[in-house]
């Protein structure tokens, strides 16, 4: 018995040592844009879109696992691999779109900060600069491991959505029935919402961030299975959070026909149905998600660009040791935060464009990843299995189709 206990303990320790990148990436994924999308989906269509979540989780898990595997096997970040395999031109193109998309994403995170704190009566003139400053200081002052610990703890805050959902007293049999035998619709709004859910859950920056974290963490090949477990658990957690948000809004707002446009609306609208606490918890969750993602997005972008161009990287360095890294990082926080302070900032438009850029970049990133991960010269015997290729190609194809649809519908 003691020996067995020792083995269990050792395994647990091994997993704990490797754990982090996958779960953090998945948590950052449930950012201001994500929470907004799920809230709107729940309010508008009740449980009608829940069926898509298991499918999205499978696609997300496969893609996250691919990034994890590439990081562990090659010891290189995705941007690094793109540069070495495809040359400078394609890399720069990729980085330019990534920077643009992530500036828009960062802006939508700061919009989330503004919205969530306005519920508690804090003006955005205070909250946004404060959040920007906090995010900036966190990285300039701390060390990577310390930051990772902060983020890992922050991930736990997502439990508030489960509590919010339970406080809303949903009807579980109906939820189960909707998940197994969904009532599909080809109505324009339904399809658009579906597209946005997929787009917000599987985002391109995640692939760069996840792989870099794995590389930075120095996960060795023998620990690959633990890193995979981390990626799978993270994807599952991401799906679970989305599930609870949709349920919370679907149980309360949908039956009463309350229309909402943002996560802030959702938090406010929850109050009469689910109580003051549910509403406050929802707002707090939004705040945490926004700050968390606002910290990670500029960081992951700066990492990717520097990795590709061979500039000094690392949160362990002082600004003058890595000027390129810190310039990009600072610039992204500034360009992300300042527009939110403008009195008539088009927040909804900003979120929409960030989503569109994500959607355009994702299939491209997936194709590049598939090309890299199926190259035996790079991956050796760790190339993709047929099943993984099918899921990944399928996702890429669906995303291309959905992105085209999204762009077309926005133009019409």
């Amino acid at each position: 018995m003691p020996r067995r206990w020792k083995r269990v303990r050792r395994r647990a320790l091994l997993f704990l040592a490797v754990m982090g990148p996958g779960i953090i990436t998945a948590s950052v994924d449930q950012d201001a844009g994500g929470i907004t999308t799920y809230s709107v989906a729940g309010a508008e269509y009740g449980y009608g879109l829940l069926w898509s979540l298991p499918l999205i989780v499978v696609a997300l898990a496969v893609i996250q696992e691919m990034g994890t595997r590439m990081g562990v096997v090659t010891g290189r970040g995705l941007a690094d691999m793109i540069r070495e395999r495809f040359g400078l031109r394609l890399t720069l193109l990729c980085m330019a779109v990534l920077v643009l998309a992530n500036i828009a994403n960062t802006a939508s995170e700061f919009a989330g900060v503004a919205a969530s704190l306005e519920i508690f009566g804090v003006s955005r003139l205070w909250s946004v600069p404060l959040a920007a400053f906090l995010v900036f200081g966190l990285v300039v002052q701390g060390t990577y491991r310390a930051i990772e610990r902060i983020f890992l703890v922050a991930s736990a805050v997502y439990v508030v959505y489960a509590v919010s959902a339970l406080l809303a007293q949903p009807s579980w049999p109906v939820i189960l029935q909707q998940m197994l035998r969904p009532t599909l619709s080809l109505h324009g709004g339904y399809v658009t919402t579906l597209i946005t859910i997929v787009g917000t859950t599987i985002a391109p920056w995640m692939q760069f961030y996840l792989q870099s974290s794995i590389v930075d963490k120095g996960v060795r090949l023998r620990d690959l299975r633990w890193a995979r477990l981390d990626a799978y658990l993270g994807s599952f957690a991401a799906g679970l959070i989305a599930f609870f948000i949709i349920v919370a809004c679907g149980a309360t707002l949908h039956p009463h026909g309350v229309r909402i446009e943002s996560a802030k609306d959702a938090a406010l609208a929850l109050q009469p149905f689910a109580g003051r606490h549910a509403s406050a918890l929802f707002a707090f969750g939004l705040l945490n998600a926004s700050v968390f993602s606002a910290a990670i997005l500029p960081l992951s972008t700066a990492y990717a660009v520097c990795e590709a161009l061979g500039w000094q990287t690392g949160v362990d360095r002082r600004p003058h040791e890595a000027p390129g890294f810190f310039s990009i990082y600072t610039l992204m926080i500034l360009v992300g935060a300042v527009p939110i302070l403008l009195p008539r900032a088009p927040l909804v438009a900003i979120m929409f464009w960030s989503q569109t850029l994500n959607g355009l970049l994702l299939p491209f990133v997936l194709l590049v990843m598939l090309k890299l991960i199926n190259d035996p010269e790079i991956m050796g015997r760790y190339v993709n299995s047929v099943a993984f290729n099918l899921v990944a190609w399928g996702t890429a194809a669906i995303m291309v189709a959905l992105s085209v649809l999204l762009v077309l519908t926005s133009l019409v």
């Binding site: 050792r10 320790l13 091994l14 704990l16 040592a17 090659t74 010891g75 290189r76 970040g77 690094d80 540069r83 070495e84 040359g87 400078l88 031109r89 720069l92 002052q141 701390g142 060390t143 990577y144 491991r145 310390a146 610990r149 902060i150 590389v215 930075d216 963490k217 120095g218 060795r220 161009l309 061979g310 500039w311 000094q312 690392g314 362990d316």
Partner: protein, 423 residues
């Protein structure tokens, strides 16, 4: 001879002796020997074959104008392809876009372009280019950027790393003669190697550490930042890591192990030689920022009845591993600290004198749990190079040298530690 750049050669078209198109240049192969490796072969695509390799001898002329095709000596039909030798490497595939170490300026550079010169009809690699200028040339924007820069009165600096001082990181490049290739890097001071390592990612560090000899590797790890130290040790094969930890001062090894995840530290301690592991384990029991956590157990202590001549002989025989021999200590059979004397006093003393007559019985010492600040104060107050550390019963457990403390007292490191402790 004017320089030729690889990104301007790549994708140039070829014409044969009869002026017929002979495909497109895809890559160049070089023999990576000497200060200026010669280009030995060309990798060509088309016109009929997908990819074929030709010896450099078939090239008649490489015109300086970028738009002009490269001319061959023979007709396409008369060309016979050759194979690459295992010790040849391809510039486009193995060097361009990769990371290399500039061992002269001690930094890591991403290769944006490769500079060659022509000498006696043969192209030779001069060096690689990082920086903005190489990047713009790679993108074919160099001329445009030059004009813009001229208008603004700016200069576009070139960042060239000559082949002489260049060390590729890519493991495949060094597979053939790994030892010889990392030779340039291994000759640097371990502190410089550590600086370079900090710019690399963990797996690249592991590749390099695996090749360095144990002593250099141990010194390199010792010189690195604490965060980097831990990741270096973690990425290495346990056997190699254990060998390197054995090579280090026990206090350094204990510092590194205390930053590792518990399971990993346990594994390494089990792999190390029992004697060395035990020393490190004893040190690990102390708090990180106390005298006990910083001290080393490798000190010199003698019984009081020993004569000066005997003591000198013992130092010759046994004190090879001691961290310092400038101060030596006198202990009783229970290892309780009785006195101290300096190397100077020992050498100047009469060889027949006993140590109990030579030693100073009032020893300034600190307890194992004494904090770092107080240790530093004691060292400066009495102007000492080392302090003995004693346990609860007055027994000597180790010594602390001024450099152990200095490392931690430096303000920048204080700040980092403070953040770490805060969390």
């Amino acid at each position: 001879m004017p320089s030729v750049f690889f990104t301007q050669l790549r994708h140039r078209s070829l014409v044969d002796a009869e002026g017929k198109p002979a495909g497109r240049l895809e890559d160049l192969a070089v023999l990576p020997l000497g200060m200026k490796p010669p280009v030995t072969k060309l990798i060509v695509s088309g016109p009929e074959r997908e990819e074929w390799i030709l010896p450099w001898d078939v090239v008649a002329e490489v015109p300086a104008e970028v738009e002009q095709p490269i001319r061959l000596r023979a007709a396409v039909a008369g060309l016979s392809p050759v194979a690459l030798r295992p010790d040849e490497m391809r510039l486009g595939k193995n060097v361009l876009d990769k990371k290399v170490v500039d061992t002269a300026r001690k930094k890591v550079v991403r290769v944006n372009d490769i500079e060659l010169t022509e000498e006696g009809g043969r192209l030779q690699v001069v060096g690689v280019e990082g920086g903005a200028r190489g990047l713009l040339r790679n993108l074919k924007f160099e001329r445009l950027a030059e004009r813009v820069a001229q208008l603004l009165g700016l200069e576009l600096p070139r960042e060239v790393v000559s082949w002489e001082v260049l060390e590729p990181i890519e493991p495949e490049l060094t597979r053939v003669k790994r030892q010889a290739v990392y030779g340039k890097l291994a000759k640097l001071h371990p502190a410089d190697i550590a600086d370079i390592m900090e710019e690399l990612n963990p797996s690249e560090r592991a590749t390099i550490l695996a090749v360095l000899d144990e002593e250099t590797a141990a010194e390199t790890i010792t010189e690195a930042e604490p965060e980097v130290q831990a990741s270096m040790v973690q990425m290495m094969e346990p056997e190699k890591a254990a060998d390197i930890l054995e090579e280090m001062e026990p206090d350094e090894a204990a510092d590194i192990l205390s930053d590792l995840p518990e399971a990993k530290a346990e594994e390494l301690l089990e792999t190390m030689q029992p004697a060395e592991a035990q020393e490190v384990e004893e040190l690990l029991e102390h708090e990180e920022d106390t005298a006990g956590g910083l001290m080393t157990t490798e000190h010199v202590a003698f019984p009081p009845s020993l004569t000066v001549a005997e003591a000198i002989q013992r130092i010759r025989d046994e004190a090879k591993d001691a961290e310092t021999i400038y101060y030596m200590y006198v202990t009783d059979p229970q290892e309780r600290l009785l006195g101290v004397f300096s190397l100077r006093e020992l050498i100047l003393a009469d060889p027949g004198q006993r140590l109990e007559q030579l030693m100073h019985p009032d020893v300034v010492s600190v307890r194992a749990e004494t904090g770092l600040r107080e240790v530093a104060e004691q060292l400066t107050k009495y102007n000492l190079l080392a302090l003995p550390v004693v346990g609860g019963g007055g027994e000597l457990v180790g010594i602390l040298t001024v450099d152990d403390v200095l490392n931690l007292i430096l303000p920048m490191i204080w700040k980092k530690r403070a953040v770490k402790k805060f969390i």
